[in-house]
């Protein structure tokens, strides 16, 4: 296993890195959209009061 360890190591870790990167991007998008939705809901509420 020693001679091929670097390849196995990189293969396994790159897979997790890719998955993590994607999940992080989902999280960032989610947060941004949530913020925007809350902001718009707030202005909707303000306008309904008027």
């Amino acid at each position: 296993m020693e001679q091929h360890f670097p390849y196995l190591f990189w293969a396994y870790n790159l897979i997790w890195a890719l998955i993590t990167a994607y999940l992080l991007s989902l999280g960032v998008r989610q947060r941004r959209i949530r913020k925007e939705i809350d902001r718009l809901k707030e202005s909707l509420r303000v306008e309904e009061k008027e």
């Binding site: 296993m1 001679q3 091929h4 360890f5 390849y7 196995l8 990189w10 293969a11 396994y12 790159l14 897979i15 890719l18 998955i19 994607y22 999940l23 989902l26 998008r29 989610q30 959209i33 949530r34 925007e36 939705i37 718009l40 809901k41 202005s43 909707l44 306008e47 008027e50």
Partner: protein, 248 residues
């Protein structure tokens, strides 16, 4: 009509349990790949990458099939749920395809001495990656959301129809995919290898399900945002009209 609130009981249950299941399966597969499966005769230990590489290829195919079905569903019913599912499945499929394209060269390097060969399966995977990147690009460059969904659906359908044709033509172009692995020459997969391979498939299936469970609520939130924007777009007009009436 307001879009349904993203989430709900089943969705949040899925969002927590599926990743946990995925992690458990992944650990089992890792153990299986490194210790349980025997050493391959010809290639040695680097062949163990196969257990992370090949199942991803199969499940990405499933993901694109789901996109195909969702695309047809959207064009037939125009329900946004289909569009959201199609997009989520394409993203998940692209992630899996990227995994195949990354692990492939890492396997190829010690075995064939080069990172990339225009070998049939890798080439097919690359073409698939390009086709479905096109799906996402079309979405990115189309302004109108309804048009976006329609165009993406067409690409999702045409792209999937192309998949078997690409597979066939690239294989003919290249001759056949290299030898089936075995511990004792010739033959098929050794039973222990087959077990780990199956484990790998379950792991990627669980990963796919997790990705869908996480991506779909995001899609619903995007739809809700669009709806809110539309609603707010109407408001100023109404206010202006009532303002005129008051002063006139």
């Amino acid at each position: 009509m307001s879009p349904r609130r993203p989430g709900g009981r089943w969705a949040s249950l899925a969002q927590t349990t599926l990743p946990v299941i995925t992690l458990a399966l992944a650990t089992t597969t890792l153990y299986g790949a490194l210790f349980y499966a025997p050493r391959e005769k010809v290639m040695g230990d680097v062949q163990r990458i196969f257990y992370f590489h090949a199942p991803a290829g199969l499940v990405c195919f499933l993901a694109f099939f789901v996109t195909f079905v969702a695309s047809i569903g959207y064009l037939a019913t125009r329900r946004p749920g289909w569009d959201i599912a199609g997009r989520a499945s394409t993203e998940a499929g692209l992630l899996l395809t990227t995994i195949v394209l990354v692990t492939g060269p890492l396997w190829a390097r010690p075995v064939w001495g080069t990172y990339w060969t225009w070998e049939a399966r890798l080439t097919t995977t690359l073409v698939l990656w390009l086709i479905y990147m096109g799906y996402l690009l079309v979405r990115r460059y189309t302004e109108d959301p309804d048009q976006q969904a329609r165009f993406a659906a067409v690409v999702g359908i045409i792209g999937f129809i192309d998949v078997p044709i690409v597979y066939m033509s690239v294989h003919w172009w290249r001759g056949h995919h290299p030898q089936v692995l075995a511990v004792s020459g010739g033959g098929g997969l050794d039973p222990t290898m087959r077990q780990v391979f199956l484990m790998g498939i379950f792991t990627y299936l669980a990963l796919y399900a997790s990705l869908m469970a996480l991506r779909i609520p995001l899609g619903r939130a995007e739809a809700e945002l669009r709806w809110l924007r539309l609603k707010l777009g109407e408001r100023p007009a109404r206010r202006a009209a009532s303002g005129l009436r008051a002063s006139g």
